[in-house]
Homo-oligomer: 332 residues x 2
C-alpha cells in the first residue's frame, strides 16, 4: 500500500509510491562521463579569464598569492545591487523593485574539481567564505532573506561547469518561508520545543534514515523525503541562522558535507544536484523555534503535472532504503 507521508516541520505531503518503487541502484545516473581539463580556455571562471567577469568582491589566496576562491557579482544578476526598495500596488499589480545582491562563489581555480573530492580543508575555506558573504549581505538594511545554494550539473540548472555556488539576497520574504516559520512557531507554542530539534533527536534514536553523523552535524533522508535521495543536513546545536556557525562547526560541517556528497557521488555515479542553505529571514533572528539546515536535492527525476497542481511530490523510492544504501557506501 502506498503511503502519503507528511513532514512534521514543513507540513509537506509526499506520496511514497510503492507501486512505482525502484531500487536505490536504479537511480545511478547514465549521463555521459566528460573528462574536464584543469583549465578551460573559454571558461569565464578559470584563471587568466578574470577580465570576463565583474571585479571580485572577495578573494582567498593560496600560499603563493594566487586566488583559490573568488567571489564576484553575478554578470546576469536576478536582482541589482543599486537602488531602493519600492513597493508598487496598482489594481492587480503588486511588485517590488528587484534590488539586493547576486554573487557567484568560484570554489576553486581548477576547472575540473568536484566538491565531494576536494580536501576537507578546502571545503572548510569555502564554507568560511559562505559565512563571510552571508554576514555581509545581511547587513544591508534592504535585505529580508539571504539564500546560498549550489547548482551542480545541467539537470540542476547549472550553465557553467566550473565549480561554483551562488548567493542571492532579496528584499521580500516569500510565503513559502513564512508558512514554515508559522508552522514551527505553532509547534513551539504547543510543546515548548523546536520541531527541527525534535526531528533530529528522533532520527538519531531510530537510526533508520541517518546517512552521516559527525560531531556537530547529522545528515539524513527525511521521513517524508520529497524525491529519491533527498537529504537534510542539520546542525546539532539549535541555531536559527547560518550566520552564527562557529569556526569549530565549520570544520565539522566540511567533514560531514564532504562525506554526504561523496556517498552520492560514488553511490549514484556523480548525479546532478542542488543544495541550499536554509536560514531564517534576516529580521527573524533570535527565534527559538526555527533551525537552519542544508537541503540536498539530487535531480534524478522530473516533476510533472501532479506536483504543479498539488504542491505535493511523488517519491518513487523508500527513504529508509535510500539511507541504508548511502550508509553502506564506504568512503576511504
Amino acid at each position: 500500500m502506498p503511503e502519503i507521508r507528511q513532514n512534521i516541520a514543513t507540513k509537506e505531503w509526499v506520496v511514497i509510491s510503492t507501486e512505482r518503487a525502484k531500487r536505490p541502484e536504479d537511480f545511478k545516473t547514465t549521463k555521459e562521463k566528460k573528462v574536464l581539463p584543469e583549465i578551460s580556455e573559454k571558461c569565464p571562471f578559470c584563471p587568466g579569464n578574470e577580465h570576463m567577469t565583474p571585479y571580485e568582491t572577495y578573494v582567498v589566496n593560496d600560499e603563493y598569492g594566487k586566488w583559490k576562491i573568488r567571489v564576484i557579482p553575478n554578470k546576469y544578476p536576478a536582482v541589482l545591487q543599486e537602488g531602493t526598495v519600492e513597493f508598487k500596488v496598482s489594481g492587480i499589480k503588486r511588485s517590488v523593485t528587484g534590488v539586493g545582491s547576486a554573487e557567484v562563489i568560484i570554489e576553486s581555480a581548477k576547472h575540473n574539481v568536484v566538491l565531494p573530492l576536494m580536501p576537507e580543508k578546502d571545503i572548510e575555506q569555502i564554507i568560511k567564505v559562505y559565512r563571510e558573504r552571508y554576514l555581509a549581505a545581511e547587513k544591508d538594511k534592504r535585505i529580508k532573506m539571504v539564500i546560498i545554494f549550489k547548482n551542480y550539473g545541467e539537470q540542476a540548472g547549472a550553465s557553467i561547469e566550473h565549480p561554483h555556488s551562488q548567493l542571492i539576497a532579496i528584499p521580500v520574504v516569500p510565503f513559502h518561508i513564512r508558512y514554515r516559520i508559522e508552522e514551527a512557531m505553532r509547534y513551539y507554542d504547543e510543546t515548548g520545543k523546536c520541531v527541527f530539534c525534535v526531528m533530529l533527536e528522533e532520527e538519531l534514536r531510530l537510526q533508520e534514515r541517518i546517512v552521516v553523523e559527525t560531531g556537530h552535524f547529522v545528515s539524513f533522508v527525511p521521513y517524508a523525503a520529497l524525491a529519491p535521495f533527498h537529504m537534510w543536513l542539520l546542525p546539532r546545536r539549535h541555531t536559527e541562522s547560518f550566520g552564527e556557525i562557529t569556526d569549530e562547526e565549520i570544520t565539522d560541517l566540511a567533514k560531514n558535507l564532504k562525506l554526504t556528497l561523496s556517498k552520492l557521488y560514488y553511490g549514484l555515479d556523480n548525479p546532478d544536484y542542488n543544495f541550499v542553505i536554509r536560514s531564517v529571514p534576516v529580521n527573524e533572528k533570535g527565534k527559538e523555534y526555527y533551525h537552519w539546515y542544508i537541503t540536498i536535492m539530487p535531480r534524478l527525476i522530473k516533476t510533472a503535472g501532479f506536483e504543479i497542481g498539488t504542491g505535493m511530490s511523488i517519491n518513487c523510492s523508500l527513504p529508509e532504503d535510500n539511507a541504508r544504501f548511502l550508509r553502506e557506501i564506504k568512503i576511504r
Copy 2:
C-alpha cells in the same frame, strides 16, 4: 531594473529578471523532431495492445464501434483504489494510507496526434471524459481532491509518447491548496469579490497579457507568470469546481484550449508542457471566493537552488512580451 512581482491571488513572488531576459523567439525548442507512426507496435496505449494495460473503466467509441478515447487505471498507480483512509501519527511520523484513484485518459487511438492539432470536436470529447471521470472520482467519500493533468514530452515528465492525460484523486488537501483558498477567502472577506474574477476583469481591461478570448474562456500570461509562457485559462463564469462545467462551456473550452496550445506549438516549435485543471477540493464546493482554472506550464527552463530555497521563481522573460508574441501567431 528587475521587478519582483506578486500574483494577487496565489501570493506567489517571481523575479522578472530583465538582466537575463531573452526574446520570446529565443525559447523555441531545439529538440529533435521525431516522426511518429500512426500505430506503434510496442506502445501499450495503441489499439491491438489493450492486453498490456488494465481493463478500461470508461470508453468512447467512434461510429464504427472502435474505441476513440479509453480510460484505464494506471498500471503503476501513485495511489491504490482499494483500501480505507487511515491516518497514523507516531512521534515525528505522520502518514495516511495512499488510497484514491489514478487513471490514464488515452486521448486518441492514434499514436502520432498532438492535442493542438486535433479537431475541436475530438478535444470536446476528451474534456467531456475529463468531466465524467472528475465527477465519478468526486463521489468517492474517501477523496478530498481530484487533479486532472497532462504531461506532454520528456521535460514535462511524460514517459509514454502516445497522447494521454491523467487523473489522480487523493485523500488529503495539501497545504499549498489550503493556502490559496485561505488567501482567496481573505480577499473575499475584504472586498466581497472573487480575486480570480477581479484578475480576469482587469486583464481584459488592460489587454496587455491576453492570449486567446473565446465566448466562455480567456487565456492569458499572468502578470506574475512563474516561467516563460506560463499561462492561465479561466472560465468567465464564476464557478469553483471544474465538475460544474456545462456542455456549452465545454464546446468553447475545446476551441480556446486548441487555439492556446496551437500558439505554443507553432510559436515555440512544439515545446514540452504540463497543464493542470485546478479545481477546489471536493468538500469545499459552493465557495464564492474560489474559481477553477487551467494552468499551462511550458517546460522551457530548469528550476534550481534559488527556487528550492525560496519557493519563488525567476522568470527570464517579460509576461507582456510573451503574450504579444503568442497573440501575433496566426492560426488558420
